[in-house]
């Protein structure tokens, strides 16, 4: 069984997940729909957002160097990392130089990609996730399963149990009390922290500023209290102007959390100036490639880079709704993960991810920047087929798939073979009243009969029925024929 199917099977056996997921995703979908409706013309706004992204992604070199120059002028250290390892090296060097023992970390997908927390913990530092959801995930030891709701796979009872075990807090079914426990635990860490590490929602090229949105004020604390602030941002996060930001802000919170706007929107210029009372002594921005320029080079998949990490495609996806994020086996789950991961981390396993979709298109409809996810899934599937064809040792199932497609191809290319195929299929017994469907079939249809009956072929094909109909009609209207239709 493919690891993807195995993980899906595991997910289906997780009672907490099966309870929380449908409700949480449905609620998120409903809220997004309501918030979108409040906008005078959400479609035009999505087009505008997409347009900005398309323009920026196609002039990435320009906007990144513009950002770099402007950020440097603000006193920010700008670093370029072509791989995750390079980024980790850069960040470690900054932490070493500043003698950082405790890090207050803010949730960020770029840092998730490189398992930054775990990597820094391995160097003997304390690293604390300061978003509630991410904090839950950290102490649970399980990975996050959603882009904006990382602990969506937990419920109040499981979180209460977890806090009780790990933090020694009393059990409670009151979510607000649970949040207070986490806050109390984290408050001291903010004061101890020598460094805050965050991602970025947007990098503004013209000003060199970093825009971050949040609800819990932990970003506020993590980026102002510690001496050092490090931003890790994928290179696709840059936008040209400050005036572009409202376009995205109108869409981001509405699509991610169903809010009009997040509670806080930060625009960070750089280290604290002499006349200022707040802010770090030192600020760094690490610009991360780690596969993104590879995506940029592929015209058919380039729109993947438009993603603003809202998680709406996950909420609305029937596959995600069914099995959750862990089943995808990596940092990004859901439709965006199914197109992003095969490109960021191409290997045999991730190549299979684009197949974890019904191509229903709900993701594209929910995407605030209209990424054509189904088309990219299809493109990546064709790339997977090309890679599989080149492999000396094919994956299990590949030979059978190839043979099935070839059999289909031969019959679809020739009406004669098609007819013969139809006749052969009827040797297994066409449908007849009282004759049941197929209950169990051998591969490749065994996957179907796991959960459904497979229909018997109709007694006659449409081709045959049409012939019969034509004959009947000419009999009914015997123009130029004898009465008996001969």
């Amino acid at each position: 069984m493919h690891p993807l199917n195995k993980r899906a099977k595991q997910a289906l056996k997780d009672p907490v997940l099966m309870r929380t997921l449908p409700e949480a995703t449905r609620r998120a979908v409903d809220k997004q729909r309501d918030r979108w409706r409040e906008l005078p013309d959400v479609d035009a706004l999505r087009d505008r957002a997409q347009e900005i992204k398309h323009h920026t992604v196609r002039h990435l070199d320009h906007y990144l160097t513009t950002f770099e120059a402007a950020a440097k002028a603000n006193g920010v250290h700008v670093h370029w990392a072509s791989t995750h390892e390079e980024a980790i090296g850069i960040i470690r060097a900054v932490l070493d130089r500043n003698d950082v023992r405790v890090v207050a970390k803010v949730k960020s997908m770029a840092t998730e990609e490189m398992a930054l927390r775990e990597r820094l913990e391995a160097t003997g530092r304390e690293v604390w996730e300061t978003d509630l959801g991410e904090f839950i995930v950290q102490i649970s030891g399980r990975p996050p399963s959603h882009i904006t709701a990382p602990a969506i796979h937990e419920d109040v009872a499981s979180i209460s149990r977890l806090f009780h075990e790990k933090l020694g807090t009393p059990q409670t079914d009151d979510p607000e009390r649970l949040a207070r426990f986490a806050r109390d635990h984290l408050r001291d860490r903010f004061h101890q922290a020598d460094c805050g590490i965050s991602g970025a929602n947007f990098l503004v090229a013209e000003t060199g500023r970093v825009v971050l949105v949040e609800n819990e004020a932990n970003i506020r604390l993590a980026t102002t209290l510690p001496r050092v602030h490090v931003v890790v941002a994928g290179i696709e996060k840059v936008v040209p102007r400050t005036s572009d930001i409202p376009v995205f802000l109108k869409l981001l919170a509405r699509s991610a959390t169903g809010q009009k706007l997040t509670a806080y929107t930060h625009e960070l210029r750089g280290p604290r100036r002499k006349d200022e009372t707040e802010g770090p002594d030192e600020m760094h921005v690490v610009l991360l490639d780690a596969g993104r320029t590879r995506i940029l080079a592929d015209e058919a998949a380039r729109d993947t880079l438009d993603c603003i990490r809202c998680g709406a495609c996950q909420n609305v996806c029937p596959v995600y709704q069914a099995v959750g994020g862990h089943a995808y086996g990596g940092v990004y789950g859901g439709p965006i993960g199914a197109i992003l991961r095969p490109q960021l981390e191409p290997d045999r396993d991730t190549r299979r991810l684009p197949y974890a979709s019904t191509l229903c298109g709900a993701c594209e409809s929910a995407c605030p920047v209209k990424i054509p996810i189904p088309d990219i899934l299809l493109h990546l599937r064709s790339r997977a087929v090309a890679s599989a064809s080149d492999e000396r040792l094919p994956r299990p199932g590949w030979i059978a798939e190839k043979a099935t497609v070839q059999a289909w191809y031969r019959s679809a290319m020739s009406p004669r073979v098609w007819r013969v195929g139809g006749k052969l299929a009827r040797l297994f017994g066409p449908a007849r009243p009282g004759r049941g469907s197929f209950h169990r079939l051998p591969p490749p249809l065994s996957g179907w009969t796991k959960h459904r009956e497979f229909p018997r072929p109709a007694p006659e094909t449409f081709h045959a029925m049409w012939d019969g109909r034509k004959k009947k009609k000419s009999a009914a209207h015997p123009i130029g024929r004898d009465e008996d239709g001969t």
Partner: protein, 278 residues
């Protein structure tokens, strides 16, 4: 609309050909009832979507090209009783060929003529049967299958056809959710597909509890998937023991039109006498 728009060609689809020819036949019957003459090109097989969706583009391209050549020599709308095959032909066929190539131009010419069955009737022809007030009430839940809904942008055509032919539409909870079929997905990722299907069947049972005896859709594939799942769940065959009947919209519309015809053959309906009153 020009008169030759009623000289249509039916693309029956491979699934209808093999598993549900009655659906394609009903689609032809309704087209005729709407005043069309229907031609069927016996050379047709499959639109190529099974291979395309699995990523086998070379094979899909050849099969598509075969049909594009078949149709490029003909005229008139090409009507497809499936939102999914309709999407493949109308939207994806051209993308299989290099921009500027002859094949691309031919694909675009043909794609322009492709229309999904319900949309052609209701939007292009502006045809709806006169509302049948006398028909016995039949409660139907409608599943708006994904490709028709999101790729072709179908918007209420099937519902209008059903309502006009005396069907009462029972709301299907979360109707827009996929049934989990996805072609090869249903076979290759049975755990995910099976779970999505279970959720869909739960929703269907919400509709059957409100009296819907039939589930309608415009795609044989989705119907096969839901029917097969429901038969497995109930341990019976469709239309029996808690398992609703799963029918293509065309079959329901055609059967209702026939029943109406038979009723008016026997005795003039009260509608006609009412129409005679001042």
């Amino acid at each position: 609309m020009a008169d030759d728009s009623r000289q249509v060609r039916l693309f029956a689809t491979c699934l209808a050909d093999q598993f549900d020819p009655e659906a394609a036949m009903a689609a032809a019957d309704v087209l005729e009832a709407a005043g069309c003459t229907v031609a069927f090109d016996a050379e047709q097989t499959c639109c190529g979507q099974p291979a395309f969706n699995l990523g086998h583009r070379d094979e899909a391209r050849q099969v598509a090209l075969r049909h594009i050549r078949l149709y490029d020599g003909t005229t008139g709308p090409i009507i497809v009783p499936s939102g999914s095959c309709g999407s493949m032909m109308k939207v994806y066929w051209p993308t299989l060929f290099a921009a500027g190539s002859d094949e691309r131009a031919a694909a675009e010419r043909v794609a322009k003529r492709v229309e999904e069955w319900s949309r052609f009737l209701v939007r292009d022809l502006g045809w709806l049967p006169e509302r049948d007030a006398e028909a016995p009430e039949r409660r139907v839940a409608y599943h708006p299958a994904c490709h028709g809904l999101r790729v072709l942008g179908l918007d209420g055509e099937a519902e209008r056809l059903l309502a006009a032919t005396g069907h009462r539409l029972v709301p299907l909870p979360r109707a827009d959710n996929c049934c989990g079929f996805g072609g090869g997905f249903s076979v290759e990722m049975p755990e995910m597909s099976g779970k999505i299907l279970e959720d869909k069947l739960d929703c269907v049972e919400g509709a059957t509890a409100s009296g819907a005896g039939t589930v309608a859709a415009l795609d044989i594939g989705c119907l096969m998937h839901m029917r097969g799942g429901h038969e497995r769940r109930t341990g019976t065959t469709e239309g029996h023991g808690g398992c609703p009947a799963y029918r293509h919209v065309a079959v329901l519309v055609r059967d209702a039109l026939r029943a109406r015809g038979e009723r008016s053959d026997v005795a003039p309906g009260p509608r006609e006498s009412a129409a005679g009153e001042p």
